[in-house]
């Protein structure tokens, strides 16, 4: 166990280092004429040379990287060109909104997907199974930005009702605050829910064919006990893995949902930064999200080792 934990922890370091390299390389892809454009359009600096200096493009590449890495390790993510505030401060200020949206979306996804997936598996090839699978494929195929647009337009078209565009703070109106997350979170959760449901169904089908499940049945145990205690517990492990991947997907989806529903979170901030060519912010958001996801994956892997002894001894 200890050896596994140490090995897993050691593997995280190079991954994080490569992430910083990718994020660093990202802004070095800026074509030269764009730097010129940045200084002309946005007026971030007084001339092109100052603009290049501002982006740190005026020094040799390896020095740029090393000094940037040093700053990042000290928690300095640079200054936003647009708001002139520290990037990390701006991100952390908006993070709670995004986290709330993401968590509510994941709760929706998991609480819909796992029961439906289990039901579809134990009633394989019945009408319920077909309905669940069609629903899942619908969730995977329908673009969430389209659903969101329709969800705003249809009520407006028929009932003259539009979701509030003004953001409601928790302190002002707790229920209104929570309520404004429900629709975007539900739409955001649909596609993740669909993937989770399909995997739950597939894993349950495989587990239900195992000998120990047959033994459980022949002992005369109740269906509830066999399905939930004997089958689901073993089927759930791969489902937990995919949750990590879904987390990244949900994080990406928040950009669209926050922009459409006017939620002032990190996704909306990133989108505005992209439009303003505020590259330090773009760098900061990418770096922070990727690092969070690496850490989440680490936690998932370590949790597994605790749940499933087979992983520890591999």
């Amino acid at each position: 166990m200890r050896q596994y934990v140490i090995k897993r922890l050691l593997l995280v370091l190079p991954t994080l280092l490569i992430i910083t390299l990718i994020v660093f390389a990202l802004t070095r892809l800026i074509p030269g004429d764009v730097v010129e454009l940045m200084f002309q359009e946005q007026g971030y600096a007084k001339d092109v040379a100052a603009m290049r200096a501002m982006l740190g493009l005026d020094r040799p590449l390896h020095l740029q990287y090393l000094s940037w890495l040093g700053e990042v390790l000290r928690g300095d993510f640079g200054t936003s060109l647009w708001t002139k505030n520290p990037v990390l401060e701006e991100i952390l200020y908006r993070l709670p909104v995004t986290l709330e949206l993401g968590i509510v979306a994941m709760v929706f996804a998991v609480s819909m997907a796992i029961p439906i997936g289990v039901l579809a598996a134990i009633r394989q090839d019945t009408l319920q199974d077909y309905a669940a699978r069609s629903f899942a494929i619908g969730g995977l195929s329908i673009p969430n930005f389209w659903l969101a647009t329709i969800a705003i337009v249809l009520p407006a078209y028929y009932f003259g009702w539009t979701p509030p565009i003004q953001f409601i703070k928790f302190a002002d109106n707790p229920w209104g605050h929570l309520g404004q997350f429900l629709l975007p979170a539900f739409i955001l959760g649909l596609s993740s829910g669909a993937s989770v449901m399909r995997l739950t169904r597939a894993m349950m089908l495989e587990v239900l064919r195992q000998d120990y499940v047959r033994t459980a049945w022949s002992k005369g145990l109740q269906e509830r006990v066999v399905v939930l205690k004997h089958a689901l517990r073993n089927a759930i492990i791969p489902v937990i893995t995919i949750l990590g991947i879904q987390l990244a997907q949900v994080a990406g989806g928040t950009v669209i949902m926050e922009s459409i529903f006017g939620l002032p979170g990190m996704g909306k901030f990133l989108f505005d930064a992209l439009l303003q060519r505020d590259y330090p912010v773009v760098q900061g958001v990418n770096l922070l999200l990727a690092s969070i996801i690496v850490m989440m994956n680490l936690v998932t892997d370590l949790t597994y080792a605790v749940i499933d002894p087979r992983i520890r001894y591999r």
């Binding site: 190079p14 494929i137 995977l140 195929s141 389209w146």
Partner: protein, 301 residues
């Protein structure tokens, strides 16, 4: 008699014909067993026909404006209605299929080639090389797809070529994992050992023995990835960082004007959304059916 002589002298000539025939029969049998997969395949076929013969199918050019007929509801002339500039929506959907298919097919080809090179070599050679390559894949996979795509497009500038390359590189990481694990199991087989024993080079083994045996997961991954890429292209174009106007990308049709005029002309937002959903649905269904048929371990699940 003459026929028999011909068969004897050209045994190879007869073989492909029989093969082709059985392939067709296999396709029909598969369609009967997997009706949903066949349905998905049919949708894709229709999309491809729309993409290839757009000039003959669409009644108008995608940018032809009919100034008097702005925001017209569906009618005999404009089957799906017109947009705020008086452009025929049906024609734009048909040409949109071309954009969608070109971007998705070429980015998936880029992604799959990259993933195959990385996945097979990483799995086959193993050791320090594998550990290093897998850390790069780990790092690349940690970035939320849409966010890193948006960031790349914002930095390098929107455009079809940039978009295709960015999408290709993005999908390569996840796919290379699948191909690597398939390679790991193929590597253990005795025929690889036999090939090594007779002195075959690593590259020869990779090309002649490993690659054909990991073809099934590659095909499955490619089909499913196509659905994902279509969705990603539509999302990026919707946000204004994908296919630039005046090209009629489905995502772009839903963007800006589609939302502004939606109350007066809901059909402007309706059809492109349906087109995207159908295309993604088609590839997902086809991918599912292919997985069932090609991957015996997952058969029936």
């Amino acid at each position: 008699m003459a026929q028999r002589v011909e068969q004897l002298t050209h045994p190879a000539a007869a073989a492909p014909r029989a093969d082709k025939f059985s392939a067709l029969r296999r396709a029909i049998r598969m369609a009967r067993r997997k009706p949903l997969g066949a349905f998905g395949g049919l949708i894709i076929l229709l999309m491809l026909i729309m993409a290839i013969f757009a000039e003959s199918i669409a009644p108008f050019h995608y940018n032809k404006t009919h100034v008097r007929d702005r925001l017209k509801p569906p009618s005999a002339t404009y089957i799906l209605g017109t947009d705020n500039l008086g452009r025929d929506i049906f024609s734009r959907i048909v040409y949109g299929a071309r954009i969608s298919m070109i971007v998705s097919l070429s980015s998936v080809i880029i992604g799959i080639v990259l993933a195959t090179v990385v996945g097979t070599t990483s799995g086959y050679f193993g050791g320090a090389f594998d550990i290093l390559v897998q850390r790069v894949v780990d790092a690349w996979q940690a970035f939320p797809g849409l966010i890193v795509l948006l960031s790349i497009m914002a930095v390098v500038g929107s455009g079809i070529v940039n978009l295709t390359i960015a999408l290709g590189v993005l999908v390569a990481a996840g796919t290379s994992r699948v191909i690597r694990s398939a390679t790991l199991s193929v590597k253990e087989h005795t025929y690889i050992e036999a090939a090594r024993a007779v002195g075959a080079s690593h590259w020869h083994i990779l090309l002649r023995y490993v690659l054909p045996n990991v073809m099934a997961p590659i095909i499955i991954a490619a089909t499913v990835t196509l659905g994902f890429v279509i969705l990603a292209e539509a999302s990026l174009s919707f946000l204004g960082f994908g296919v630039p106007p005046p090209y009629p990308s489905w995502g772009l049709m839903l963007n800006g004007s589609g939302r502004v005029f939606m109350l007066r002309a809901p059909w402007m937002a309706l059809w492109p959304g349906i087109a995207v959903s159908l295309a993604v649905f088609g590839f997902n269904m086809l991918g599912d059916a292919l997985r069932d048929v090609l991957d015996p371990r997952l058969r029936g699940t």
